[in-house]
Subunit: 458 residues, 2 copies
């Protein structure tokens, strides 16, 4: 955990934003895997962890915005528990580590809330995403309609990363690096995708963390969230690896690399790859405070459309093609999303609120509709920069048969790429005072010569 | 998955046991990790998987015991989903693979259940263990009181392993073997526990499975379910490793080994180890159909008490000591539990129902109360055989100060062992026609000379 003052400071800021009511933060609990006593690895709720810093199951935190008072609810363990779990720090000790001196047993929470409700005090809470939290809210409050004021206040705080958060993110990027380079070193003909996935998950676990999302590792990179890892790798395949580390403090890394199993890009692979790489590098250079990330999204789309026109796969005018959404046949997703404690940071608080705020309207056009982060960039934002080009047979069939954007797509030339797969190149960008930088000491190898050396040099 | 006939056969048997009503089996769904769209790795409910064989999120199965009809409820995917997930088999196809030809969209389940309830038909279901399943049952039925008749019928079936299950268990034991031998090869001074845990989890993931429970790997083996892996290993430490594989079909392995980080047992470590090993081997030899596993538990306790009397840690008469529960200071848990699709097989259906049936009463004596499986053994049972000896400071302090079993414990001699830690040795036993055998082709190294060679030979 961070130093005590970090948590005190965060809560103070939230107290300043919220003028009335009580903030109820339910920490996560263990989730049963296949029976009650056999849990998944514990993951604390990010907002609970952000304000209260206790990464254990079965806690709740209260911020009384009227009296300016914070309370931790949790249970100390008994002698029988010591046999099974070993000695544990007391609730009082855990609370004191984050600057809170009011603690109560967990089962007093219900009375505390009931008393407040009876006094007419509003209980603010964030949207529940686990069924268990919904059941708890049913019992405590009777509904689970979250507080928009609390949501917006928490987004305001968490969106701008503090120095301790940036330092921590910079540090854990080395674990993302190790995971990705391990994949590059393992990829070769005759290896199953799942073997590489296992090694990467093992690295994350060895640092006492997890993966920040289910690893996407596939020779079918055109399937955006492919969770099947049963394919056997062969020379000629292009392997797409999208993976990150979730630190014990609950901070994420998120990178994508795409490389040929053989270690050598074919001409076709190289041509597509270089377009995506050019888009990634251009976004990195152009991102800075004051610019909308939506504009960066369209910049990436234009570079992609331009590259595909040069290859004869698209045709017509770049600006018009992108305005019509023709590029979305190849890049049907957005340029990126906020990242931080959650890999899609605060997505559970409302993706559009996080990514668009009150300032922007979300597009409904296919492709652009999936842009998760569009806001005007500010110093301290962390966003992913992840352009891609994919050849998705089902989507190509649909567009061809329905003549969608027929004026901008050369379906005859496109046929040649039908078994290509997909390329995505993703880095984690910190918006700085003057521009942006890729988080972490070393950028995960991304240039063709670097990758051919690592993947091919084994 | 297994062949179609396996699932047809299982459902037929359940239809024979249940004469009326409708059996509702809710499959598991993805559980959100830190926001709705970011899930933990999917784990199907074991009973759903046993009867319906579909290991995907969002399915339900119905067995109409009155009309002898089975139905699968689930949703086919849309074009937008194909972009993200790739092409998927249809619900009709998945159902047909397990011999079911009635399929319906998931949202028709509510009407189906409501119609049955209105006709006065009883809906049987198993105890829910996930909050999401409880919410589903609230919506569908209005309560979540499970059906005892269904519970007992399912236990009867799942308790006796079929040949295909035994073959599968025999196969996956090699992955448990690989995980444990990897731990032996990695253990040395200067390594963190979490590094070994990571490598073991990585192996499980590389076979497209998971760990069958959170890995217990600790130099503090006296903490029975230690989930902290932050210790640095040093020569002199005894490392206890309790871990298993959860296969893609949802079958478990579960073994414990204990060995010295240095590769060489001290005299004290060897003395305690040999008692536990003698108990494990004796249970293996004595277990056979017709014998109560409760008797095996007491046999292990007596071997342990006898060994500790020989070392001067306990005193008095073995039979009397065990009758009084004095051994439980050192082995506060039971000899073992059923194993199969769940590592504590069917614990979610009721541990006492599974382990004691209608035949036996569960003891309330400290130690024996934790015996999870006591039944008369039958051919096809799979149970763990896991005797242990631990020196638990908090428990020793309590017994000493409260003079518990004072006549059987030599607290002065015991002082010398206060920093010892613990030893547990666990195998997975299949009860055969004539006796029992350890599952898997090769027994994970357990004899001192084997272990000193592997751990010390690096």
């Amino acid at each position: 955990m961070f130093e005590k003052r970090v948590y005190i400071n965060r809560r103070q800021k939230l107290h300043q934003k919220m003028d009335s009511g009580i903030g109820l933060f339910l920490g996560n609990t263990y989730v049963p895997y296949n029976y009650p006593a056999n849990p998944f690895k514990f993951r604390q709720d990010s907002s609970f962890s952000y304000f209260f810093g206790i990464n254990l199951s079965g806690y709740a935190g209260i911020m009384d915005f009227e009296e300016g008072k914070d309370v931790i609810f949790g249970n100390d363990i008994e002698i029988e528990d010591i046999i099974w779990m070993g000695p544990q720090p007391s609730v009082r000790e855990l609370a004191s580590n984050v600057g809170i001196h009011n603690t109560k047993p967990f089962d007093q929470l219900a009375d505390y809330i009931k008393t407040a409700i009876n006094k007419g005090i509003k209980i603010h809470f964030l949207p529940p995403y686990r069924a268990k939290t919904k059941l708890q809210l049913q019992g405590l409050i009777g509904d689970y309609i979250p507080s928009e004021k609390l949501i917006k206040s928490v987004i305001d705080l968490r969106l701008i990363k503090e120095k301790v958060e940036i330092d921590h993110l910079d540090q854990i990027m080395s674990i993302g690096y190790e995971m990705h380079v391990t994949a590059m070193l393992m990829a070769k003909e005759g290896v199953y995708e799942r073997e590489i996935v296992g090694a990467m998950e093992g690295i994350a676990a060895s640092y006492d963390g997890g993966v920040s999302f289910p690893i996407i590792l596939s020779k079918h990179g055109e399937i955006l969230h492919n969770e099947n890892h049963e394919n056997l790798l062969k020379n000629g395949d292009l392997l797409l690896v999208d993976a990150g580390f979730d630190s014990p403090l609950g901070y994420a890394t998120d990178h994508t690399r795409t490389f040929p199993v053989s270690g050598k890009y074919s001409e076709m692979q190289r041509n597509i790859y270089e377009i995506v790489l050019a888009a990634n590098d251009a976004i990195h250079k152009a991102s800075k405070p004051g610019i909308q990330y939506k504009e960066m999204h369209f910049l990436a789309c234009k570079i992609i459309a331009d590259g595909l026109i040069n290859l004869g796969i698209m045709k017509g005018n770049v600006e018009e093609a992108v305005a019509m959404g023709a590029h979305a046949l190849f890049m049907p997703h957005g340029l990126g999303h906020a990242m931080g404690m959650d890999v899609h940071d605060m997505e559970g608080l409302g993706e559009t609120l996080v990514g668009y705020g009150d300032e922007l309207e979300r597009s409904s056009q296919f492709g652009t509709a999936y842009l998760r982060f569009a806001r005007t960039l500010e110093e301290g934002h962390v966003v992913t920069n992840e352009p891609g080009i994919y050849f998705i047979p089902a989507l190509i069939d649909k567009w061809k048969s329905e003549k969608i954007n027929n004026d901008f797509i050369n379906f005859t030339e496109l046929e040649k790429y039908i078994e290509f797969g997909g390329v995505r190149l993703e880095d984690d960008l910190l918006i700085t005072e003057e521009g942006s930088r890729n988080l972490g000491e070393n950028r995960i190898p991304i240039y063709i010569d670097e990758l051919e050396k690592i993947v091919g040099g084994k």
